[in-house]
Amino acid sequence: MNHIRIDRRRFLAVAATLPLVSRVAFARAASVPDARFVFILLRGALDGLATVPPCGDPSYAGLRREIAIPRPGEPNGALALDTTFALHPGLPFLHECWRAKALLVAHAVATPYRERSHFDGQDVLENGGVRPNAFASGWLNRALTALPQGRPGSHGETGIALGQNLPLTMRGPAPVASWSPSRLPAIDDDTLTRIADLYARDPVLSVRLADALAADEVAQGASMETAPRGGGARYLETLRAAGSFLAREEGPQVAMLDTTGWDTHANEGGAQGQLATRLGALDTGLRALKEALGAAWSRSVVVLATEFGRTAAVNGTRGTDHGTATVAFVLGGAVEGGRMLTDWPGLSRGALYQQRDLAPTLDLRSVLKGVLHDHLRVSSAALDSDVFPDSSMVRPAKDLIRA
């Protein structure tokens, strides 16, 4: 079980007597919009053509051969979305969301990055620009700074990263804490007070400690169970925690979760196998996130995105190599879903990007801008210039969010 380390009174006592000021101001006035947002980064280049197979595209089965996902209705078949697209059979929760009109699937989507390095690709996705290493801060953090202010003198809205450290997406000027479950014993007040005093004049450590204590204070009010270990539990614990944080009125508005392991160069599998197992764990985790959000699900949007896609054809080792366009998911109770967001380029040889990859026809920033604008009420001006710098030509996708 997770330790409940710092009760509210104790946190206030420690924080109040010390030269520690958390940048994180979780408490919000009632007038602030109560929209919730979760961003899940899938590192490693998720195979969009396996996750949302275009079973109705005439070239699909021939390109994917032994790793093609069977059509809906066949044994282990994909879960039908429309006449062209289907979901991988390991994603039953996402399929429920689709039928409940709470899931949008963006396909043939890509960031502005057109090379094939994971690390540069992730950097572009995270920094929100068009080049690797363009900024040392992330688009989601800059979006936080642009949220409508809750009340005069407020520190602004806040976010939380589920994990020990902040991914680039969440780094920047806005106050963001990180939180992860602890398996270590609690530390006593007196020692904590002395450590805080040692950090008083250290601009980094003082802020980090205060942020950690503030996040812990929120965590102790939420039900943070330690999930069982095992393959299917990979994302359960953190996604449940994310839901618990966001479900609280005084909790953060935005959460981010980082996942790895989507780089399927060999033995990727089809309806079953390596990728299927990971997708199944992700689907289970997303269901747990919905459950933990409770009533807040109806006010929530979850976006899942990856740095780029994979080759249209299976490679020589029953896997796929680095590609270009892929899928992104937008789900949640606040989503105007049950639709594909795609200008499908097709998989015929002439349609492929550089004769090898699914061609990009939708800029991921357009999807993200649509969500940030309509759901979190970030202004167009801030989106064009600050959140995604120099992106005014990338128009936000419309009508992603329920009116």
């Binding site: 994990g163 040692l198 250290d202």
Partner: protein, 471 residues
């Protein structure tokens, strides 16, 4: 005072944290202490004799796999011993896991006990530069052997030898899939096409791409997708011996060049033509990559980031790159250039410790016992840097922003508190603090330790001090 700052930097930034008594030895000549560590070749891991080599491990795994197949094929054969069936049922993971734990522990002890901590840091640096990650199950049993066999013997030698040892090692060929990459025009692929059994035979460009992007030129090194593909063709056939069916040839568990998998014909890489036949083609290309100026710059940048600052000064990077080129990839002159860089000796301490740095320096500074089976592994898991599991071939990141998260700090504090509680009064933090931090110890921390409510709390304050979080 100046010497005690330089000694603290030598032992903490270049080493793995001072042990009590070390600073006094180092203080008269901190640079000399570092340079002396570079001679005498790479020390083996203490206890290495008890650890198996990758060849034996992979050969054993192949036998286990065969037993499992036999078991599946026929229902239990009465001639099979109970033991054989049991082992086969547990699978390769059950064989690999204890090997991994023992390797982590051996490496951890080496780091904590070393008298040449600069060399241990270099082993860790290069192992991370050429990262394999045990979250890929196939390398769990051989990640430790990879570091002992391919990295450690070469960190004081030439980069080219290090590079060849790495790219030919079974752990890397498994991790980045090259062992089964097949040239589309190779003998094997043509034979398979003729018999219509082509599925699962073809190129895998994973290793080729990461050699160019991560191991040598760097992502800005000027190569294209066409270079990646043709380099992947050149190294088709770089594989591992043993296996079944079409992979039956060669010594099990050892590098094998499988000519049947190799793509015939000349290839272009970075505008240069490689017309060699067979293994010699990839060999020539890899040798040119090792000597390429972009490789020198890429490595210099990474070394400077590791030893000087997250955003290292261009002049220092330039000097390191120049040393690399002038000495044709000899690594000792490269390390000398780093030690000679004045920026490496500046305060305040510029590098935030990674969890591994933090754990090693705590164990060294407090002379904590390392006799537990999993001491190092457990600490690395709790603090978020499980040994050999960076999760990607890029290895662990090397900047403060990647490690100084709020939750990560709280984990360190809790861990430090647990160390304090375990030690109680058995360490005198008041005496230890100046002995391991020297000129970096602030008056504020020194006073806080002196005024601690207990010996345990004094230890916790020492381990959580701002100057102990950085190197």
């Amino acid at each position: 005072m100046a010497d005690s700052v330089a000694a603290a930097i030598a032992t903490n930034r270049f080493g793995l944290g001072a042990r009590p008594g070390e600073l006094a030895n180092v203080a008269p000549d901190p640079r000399g202490w570092l340079l002396a560590q570079l001679s005498g070749g790479s020390p083996p891991v203490p206890g290495a004799a008890a650890l198996e080599g990758s060849e034996a491990i992979l050969a054993r795994a192949a036998v286990l796999r065969e037993e499992m197949r036999d078991r599946k094929r026929a229902t239990a054969d009465p001639r099979d011993s109970e033991e054989k069936l049991r082992r086969a049922a547990q699978g390769i993971g059950a064989y690999y896991r204890p090997l991994y734990v023992a390797e982590v522990q051996a490496r951890f002890r080496a780091a904590v006990a070393s008298d040449r901590p600069l060399v241990e840091r270099l082993v860790q640096f290069w192992a991370n530069h050429f990262a394999v990650s045990v979250d890929k199950a196939a390398v769990l049993g051989v990640a430790g052997a990879f570091e002992r066999e391919a990295i450690r013997p070469h960190v004081l030698g030439r980069f080219e030898d290090l590079l060849f040892a790495v790219e030919r090692h079974p752990a890397m060929l498994l991790y980045l899939d090259n062992f089964q990459s097949v040239g589309p025009g190779s003998v094997l692929a043509r034979r398979a096409t003729a018999s219509r059994r082509r599925h699962g035979l073809g190129l895998n460009e994973n290793l080729a791409r990461e050699i160019l992007e991560l191991h040598t030129l760097g992502v800005d090194g000027g190569y294209t997708q066409a270079d990646v593909t043709s380099f992947a063709r050149m190294i088709t056939g770089w594989s591992i011996g043993g296996g079944r069916g079409r992979l039956a040839e060669g010594e099990p568990g050892r590098f094998a060049f499988r000519v049947n998998l190799h793509e015939p014909g000349a290839q272009q890489l970075l505008g240069r033509r490689y017309a060699q036949a067979g293994y010699g083609q990839g060999e020539a290309a890899l040798r040119d990559l090792a000597r390429h100026p972009a490789t020198a710059r890429h490595l210099a940048q990474k070394l400077a980031r590791h030893f000087i600052a997250d955003d290292p000064p261009a002049a220092a990077v330039e000097q390191i790159a120049t040393a690399f080129e002038r000495h044709e990839g000899e690594l000792i002159p490269v390390y000398r250039a780093i030690i000679d860089a004045p920026e490496a000796w500046e305060t305040p301490l510029a590098k935030y410790k990674t969890p591994a740095d933090y754990i090693h320096s705590a164990y060294r500074g407090l002379e904590l016992p390392t006799d537990g089976q999993r001491a190092g592994l457990t600490a690395s898991e709790l603090l978020g840097q499980r040994t050999w599991s960076p999760g990607s071939p890029a290895g662990w990141p090397d900047s403060a922003a990647d490690w100084d998260g709020a939750s990560a700090l709280l984990k360190r504090i809790e861990w430090a508190d647990a160390v304090g509680a375990r030690l109680g009064d058995r360490r005198d933090a008041q005496r230890t603090a100046p002995a391991i931090l020297g000129g970096m110890l602030s008056k504020k921390v020194s006073q806080a330790i002196a005024r601690a409510a207990s010996g345990a709390q004094a230890v916790t304050l020492l381990l959580t001090a701002p100057e102990f979080m950085r190197r």
